[in-house]
């Protein structure tokens, strides 16, 4: 943020295309990695790590949805259903076949990707709100099928207890151990998404979003590319579902209902459509804001009312403040938190000589 970009000249295409063209960005990334992988787990209480875990899971899901909605321009309200596909696939494989996490994770993602392709087929013919309704149907159909198929859902209770992930013979049970597990998966998903976007496929996603007919004319196979977008997005959703399952210790469809899909849509819209950073900021915003509001209200609220009454006040006001802040941020910057961050950056780029 406070660095200068002048004086760096790229002489090759490769250097120009690098994810981090400036040396300072590389140092910043290294510092962030050290902060989150060495410093944070050492200093933070298990409770705070559990919150970061939730954020890491949400980031993976939001990245997947942003690839579809933000980059390809295909709206989906069935994201949570793909998560449940991944969750139940992994839970069945882990309990029935005793498979380790490094197989259940990609398998859950792959199964979700397969279902995602099926759901994506209508996207060739219908667009916008109509596609939203088609994906909404997928949400309900998948939910119903899981709920009514005991071989998938594991019986009447429709929930499967997941054994903890095992790494080098050690079971990862508490939040601190799960922290590394989930963070590593999140980083892999993040790097994958960043690279996908600047690849040929990623550019064709953006071309389809911006002008479908033009994209077709310049030689992009629209049908194939849309299905790839659905597949990649659902793969991320599936992996996100598997992460939830390992984190919660159960696969349960009630965790992946319509409201969860809406939560994820909110993440990518508030964070910023078509932005990797936006997915991260949106996931942090939607996951952590309610918790932060509650912690603040608990700290300062007891000055005004007694504890028992405070519980009711917090529960209600938290929703009001949460909703209010969403509106505020969207009004301040309709392009999302990522754009807001960019504006701040641009301001300081020329500071103090901004015009």
């Amino acid at each position: 943020m406070f660095h200068r970009e002048s004086g760096y000249f790229n002489t090759t295409y490769k250097a120009d295309m690098a994810l981090y063209p400036l040396p300072i960005a590389k140092f910043a990334i290294a510092a962030i990695l050290v902060l989150f992988f060495v410093v944070a787990p050492y200093f933070l209480d298990e409770y705070y790590l559990s919150i970061i875990n939730l954020v890491a899971i949400a980031i993976v899901g939001a990245l997947g949805l942003n690839i579809l909605v933000g980059y390809t321009g295909q709206i989906s309200i069935g994201h949570a259903a793909f998560m449940s596909v991944g969750a139940y696939t992994a839970a069945n494989l882990a309990t029935k076949l005793d498979l380790p996490f490094w197989l259940t994770l990609p398998a859950g993602g792959a199964m979700a990707a397969f279902i995602g392709i099926l759901v994506g087929i209508p996207s060739l013919r219908i667009k916008g709100l109509y596609l939203a309704i088609a994906t909404l149907a997928a949400q309900f159909i998948i939910e119903w099928v899981i709920n009514h198929t005991p071989t998938i859902s594991g019986g009447v209770a429709a929930s499967i207890e997941m054994p903890p992930p095992e790494f080098l013979g050690k079971e990862l049970v508490n939040q601190a151990e799960l922290y590394y597990f989930l963070m590593v998966i999140m980083v892999i998903a993040l790097v994958g998404a960043m690279n996908l976007i600047r690849s040929r496929i990623g550019r064709s996603f953006i071309a389809i979003r911006d002008q479908e007919i033009a994209a077709e004319i310049i030689g992009i196979n629209v049908f194939k590319t849309k299905l790839i977008a659905f597949a990649v997005s659902s793969f991320y959703a599936g992996v996100c579902g598997v992460m939830y399952t390992y984190y919660l210790g159960i696969a349960n469809y009630e965790n992946f209902q319509l409201i969860t899909s809406i939560d994820y849509l909110a993440m990518v819209i508030i964070g910023g459509l078509g932005s990797i950073l936006g997915s991260i900021l949106g996931a942090i915003f939607i996951t952590m804001l309610p918790i932060v509001i509650r912690l603040l209200m608990e700290t300062f609220g007891s000055i005004f009312v007694d504890d028992a009454a405070l519980a009711q006040v917090i529960a209600q006001f938290r929703l009001i403040i949460f909703g209010g802040l969403i509106i505020v941020f969207l009004v301040v910057e309709p392009d999302g938190l990522a754009k807001l961050w960019q504006n701040i950056r641009n301001y300081f780029r020329f500071w103090p000589f901004s015009y």
């Binding site: 559990s50 919150i51 309610p290």
Partner: protein, 411 residues
Amino acid sequence: MKHLQTGLLMAGMVAGAATMAMTSAQAKEIVVGMACDRTGPTQTVGVMLCPAYHDYVKLINSKGGIMGNKIRVVEIDTQYKVPASVEAYQRFKKEGAVVVALWGTPMTQAITSNLNADHIPGTSPGFGTAAAANGEKYPYLFPMAASYWSQAGAAVTFAKQELGGNIKGKKIAFIFYDNPAGREPIPVLEKLAALEGFELKKFAIPPPGVEMKVQVQDITRRYRADFVISHLFGKGPSVHIKEFKRMGYPLKKLLSFVWGAGEADINGAGGWAKAQGYNALNFAGVGSDYAILDEIKAMYKAEGKDAPEAMASTVYYNRGILAGAVHLKAIEMAVKAKGSGDITGEDVQKGFLAIKDFKLGGILPPLNFTDLDHEGGGWARVFRVEGDNFVPAGDWLRGYRDVVIEMLKAE
């Protein structure tokens, strides 16, 4: 300047020493965690149940706490969401909770393994899976109220009473919300149908569970059920009272499980006059005629305040009293056994098992926890709409306990 610094340092040290002395002289503060839903889909229950828990704790604290140890409740509104509940549980753990009240079936399932790993007892009255009542398998989970299996046993017992003591060849309809919790009693009902020789027919209500005209017509006109057992949630109970009434079915022959038992369900069905005879199971006493409720009112009166609004729902408020009372009783047992307020979750778990015949003046059934039975006996009581009130239809009952226990062991 130097003097000022030294002076400040000295003052700080004195103040620090004073606070330390005070805290060590004070009795220990015992923390309990409560996950609550005040803003989610089950908020109509939460806004009545949670204040009751706080009121009970306040009452005990106003009497000096448990052997001098004050209780502090950490409540978190989870909005009936699983991730939020896991976050809440981690928070309770951080605050040092010795017992936690869970809320919601999927959340209970997610947190159960944590309870066992962290040795913190958790309670799930009226939800969670029925099989979780098996204390040998889940030592730290206490449903502490009749599970859906036990409710099914109680419902069939009540049906038998109402139909003259013999239900062989009778037709019993089971109308339920089509989700895992709704389907849970079915294995018990099927077993009892085979055992008692009655005919059982199941009618599923798909989500969102408010449209059931067809099913009710089917039950009353085509199937002509002799008795109906219902297991619905949310707005469903109100709707089914209305529909059965419209079909002219005698509501005396309709018995709802515990989540169709609230005052709000009766009001939603068009008022008390329209719901005469309607029966519902409860795992805590209904009505305001209990000594403990008078004590809470007296406590508020002494402060110059009115009785809390939540008391208007005697059904859910009293269930909150049940949760608070059993928690604090278990803590009391743990403190007594330990001799001080310095207790852990393990002590409270043993405290639960030490509870014997705890009735709290009749608002609770005689609760007994054993190593196997964490339901406390599986008691339920039928309350019937008569006039403008719920009146008890018979005493606390538990039906076919042997069948339920057998299933618990088999699971």
